[in-house]
Structures are given as structure tokens and as C-alpha cells.
């Protein structure tokens, strides 16, 4: 066992892990942050998407020890108190979820996507950029709508970016 320390959602946290402990296990089992989901064994579904030093990555494909010293943001770190993050608000407004299993990963991928495209997002780009996130329920249409609406909201400055 080794000790790891990292900053998760703005707070410094430590824990004891095995070398093989995945970051997603550390977040869920040690820290109790169960918003980050595990939907596959093959690094393909994106339900585990979080931000590592500001970039979207799959927490199931990264060891906790690899994240030693890093800044992590999970779905739990987006809202400010009771005020939803603009991407969360857009998913609610546009019915971007059904069962909700893929949603945390979708939202973490979307906030990263919006950050990388300050010029705005068209539908084709959003669909391409969602390559790493699988949804079994929605057919994607409302997810795409929600992300485009959130991107517009952030761009026009009516709300703040991630």
C-alpha cells in the first residue's frame, strides 16, 4: 500500500491505495464520490470521465498513483451549492438524460469540450467529440442539444464557464 495525495474538487485529500487501484475506485470507494460511474471494462464508455489537471480523461484507465499531486474535478465539483453548473442546467432543461447512468461522464466530457471550443460548437463537432461517451437510452439528440445550448450560454457570457 502507498499513500496518495491529490486535490479533488478543490480539497486536498489523501488515502492509502494499492499500486493497482484505479483512480475511479479511489474516488468512489475511498472518497465516496460515487457520481463517477463505471460502465465498461474496455475504456470505451466514458461513464468514468473526470478532469485531470483540467482535461477530460477516463478515470478507469488511470491508476490512483498516476494522479498523485494532480488536480481532479468530478461531477460533484461542478455545481456551486444549489446552483447547477450551466452544462448541468442545460441537460435538465433539454432532457439530456433518461436513466442518468452516462450523464456524469457526458457532462464532464461536455464541460471540457466547451472549454476547448470557446468559438462555439456546431452539431457535427459535438457528435464527433462525444466519440468516447456511450449512452444506451437517449439516442444522443437531446444530449447534443443540451451541449450546444450550454456552449451558447457560456459564449454569450450569460453564465460562467467551468
Amino acid at each position: 500500500m502507498t499513500n496518495v495525495t491529490m486535490t479533488v474538487n478543490g480539497q486536498k485529500v489523501s488515502g492509502s491505495v494499492e499500486g493497482r487501484t484505479l483512480l475511479v475506485q479511489f474516488l468512489r470507494d475511498t472518497l465516496g464520490l460515487t457520481g463517477t460511474h463505471v460502465g465498461c471494462d474496455t475504456s470505451q464508455c466514458g461513464a468514468c470521465t473526470i478532469h485531470l489537471d483540467g482535461k477530460s480523461v477516463k478515470a478507469c484507465s488511470l491508476l490512483a498513483v498516476q494522479a498523485e499531486g494532480a488536480e481532479i474535478t468530478t461531477i460533484e465539483g461542478l455545481a456551486e451549492g444549489d446552483v447547477l453548473h450551466p452544462v448541468q442546467a442545460a441537460f435538465k432543461e433539454h432532457h439530456g438524460l433518461q436513466c442518468g447512468f452516462c450523464t456524469p461522464g457526458m457532462i464532464m466530457a461536455a464541460t471540457d469540450m466547451i472549454r476547448r471550443h470557446p468559438e462555439g460548437l456546431d452539431e457535427g463537432t459535438v457528435r464527433e467529440e462525444l466519440e468516447g461517451n456511450i449512452c444506451r437510452c437517449t439516442g444522443y439528440h437531446n444530449i447534443v442539444k443540451a451541449i450546444m445550448a450550454a456552449s451558447e450560454a457560456v459564449k454569450t457570457g450569460s453564465t460562467k464557464a467551468a
Binding site: V65, E68, G132
Partner: protein
């Protein structure tokens, strides 16, 4: 996954030392191939030596025609590099087609080349650009580097530090991705430099990435997509798997070559 001892290296020297001290060590860069392989126990190293924090492996430099990309540069960084785009936009295009944004944020060019997946994208670019793979001990021509399925000329304790190539006059890349995995079912990189045409094919060969003599001859005579109209690539040494037959892949290779040429000439 079996348990593993993790070591983070701050320099190339430290990485080599840590590797030497390990019983059955493996280097890890982005982990986008290695961690999934360890989860399924296809790989079970005793020790991991993390290269991701070695600053020397992360540089991109373009001086004159010479492009050098550090082994630790991620796919996302190549895709977004203005310097590389000015020298060889086809390589940025290729990097942007690898996997998905999350994979591109972690995965590195060095890891992709060391792994030499027969359906990976970068090997085709390195072969077509006649790149040099620079390691902790020597320089290896791409031609000699890729030696078979998941096989390279690398020794166990050898670290890729960078790749170097001359910016081509024209280049293009097109791939037909497997709809589920996004790896290439056929990917073709074409490069023209000093009158020579080089065409490398990934995803389709029975023995990994290869240069296509048929496509190179046709394009040397006339560098246009229409010059490939009557060209057939033999299916003999192509791969047959659940996704496609060798004959189907032979057709895909020509189709992707046409798209790559169209990109190079646009």
C-alpha cells in the same frame, strides 16, 4: 489486475535506473493501451516506471524542415500544435482521429509507436514520412523499427525519446475506422518529398504496417486520386478478421489512398 509497484521518474536516467532495478518492469506513458491490457491481465508487469513527468520527452520543435516531437507529447497536443500544422498538417489531422478526446488527452506518440498495434495510426505516418525514431541509446529508421504485429526493434530497457522527420512537400491521411473501436480497418498515409512518393498502410496488413508498392508506383507516375482508379492492391498479405475480409480491406486501402491523395492535393 494483478498488483503492481509504481515508480515515477523525473528524468530519463532515473527511468532507466528504476527499470533496471525492477524484476519484470514496464514503462508507462499515457497508459491508454497498457492499463486496459493490465485490467484484462494481458500484461502483468511487477513494476511500472512512469515516464509522464519527464519534461525532456514533451518538447515539439520545428527548425527549418526538421520536425522533432518528444515521445511524451500527447495525441491532443499534436492535433493542436500550430508548429506541426505549419510543417505537416496531415499529422495533426491523424492525431485528431485517434480514439476519442479522453484518450487523446493521455495517449502519447511514443507509447503508440512502442506498442505498434497493427491498426494504430502513427506507424503509417512514421513509415510514409521516413521518420527516425530516437531512443535512449540510438536512432532507428522507421523502416527498421516496425518488425511485426505489436513488435518493434526496441530492446526491453530502451526508451523512445522522440521522433524526427523532414516536413514533406505534400501529405495526406485517411482512415476507415472500425465503428466500435475507432482503430483503423484501413488507414493510408501518403507523403511526397523531392519527387518521391511514399505510401504506408495501417490496419490492413497481416504483419502490421507496410508500404504499398502498387500505390507508390501509380502515384509516382501521376499524383492524383484518379491515377488510382485502375489500381488493385493484392489481398494475399492482408488481414481477415470478424470485421472484414482481406478482399474487402484491399478495396478499402485503395479508397482511403484516394482520400489521402485528395487531402494532400487540396
Amino acid at each position: 489486475m494483478y498488483d503492481v509497484n509504481y515508480h515515477r521518474a523525473g528524468s530519463l536516467e532515473e527511468a532507466l535506473k528504476l527499470f533496471k532495478a525492477a524484476e519484470d518492469g514496464k514503462f508507462i506513458a499515457g497508459g491508454q493501451t497498457l492499463i486496459p491490457a493490465m485490467k484484462t491481465r494481458l500484461a502483468a508487469p511487477s513494476d511500472l516506471v512512469d515516464l509522464r513527468h519527464i519534461a525532456d520527452l514533451k518538447a515539439i520543435s520545428v527548425s527549418g524542415k526538421t520536425v522533432t516531437i518528444g515521445a511524451g507529447v500527447t495525441h491532443a497536443e499534436v492535433a493542436a500544435s500550430a508548429d506541426i500544422a505549419a510543417a505537416c498538417p496531415a499529422l495533426c489531422h491523424l492525431a485528431g482521429l485517434i480514439g476519442d478526446p479522453q484518450v487523446r488527452h493521455m495517449g502519447t506518440i511514443g507509447g503508440s509507436l512502442a506498442n505498434n498495434d497493427p491498426a494504430a495510426d502513427y506507424p503509417a505516418a512514421m513509415l510514409a514520412l521516413a521518420a527516425t525514431i530516437i531512443t535512449s541509446t540510438r536512432e532507428i529508421a522507421a523502416e527498421d523499427f516496425f518488425t511485426g504485429l505489436f513488435e518493434t526493434a526496441l530492446e526491453e530497457d530502451e526508451i523512445i525519446t522522440a521522433v524526427r522527420f523532414d516536413a514533406p512537400e505534400k501529405a495526406g491521411y485517411a482512415k476507415f475506422p472500425n465503428p466500435a473501436s475507432r482503430y483503423a480497418m484501413a488507414g493510408v498515409f501518403v507523403a511526397v518529398d523531392g519527387g518521391a512518393v511514399r505510401v504506408a498502410v495501417t490496419g490492413a496488413g497481416d504483419d502490421g504496417v507496410f508500404r504499398s508498392a502498387e500505390l507508390e508506383a501509380a502515384l509516382a507516375a501521376e499524383f492524383s486520386a484518379s491515377a488510382l482508379e485502375a489500381v488493385a492492391v493484392p489481398a494475399d498479405d492482408l488481414m481477415t478478421d470478424i470485421h472484414a475480409s482481406a478482399e474487402y480491406r484491399a478495396g478499402l486501402v485503395v479508397a482511403m489512398a484516394k482520400r489521402a491523395v485528395a487531402m494532400a492535393t487540396s
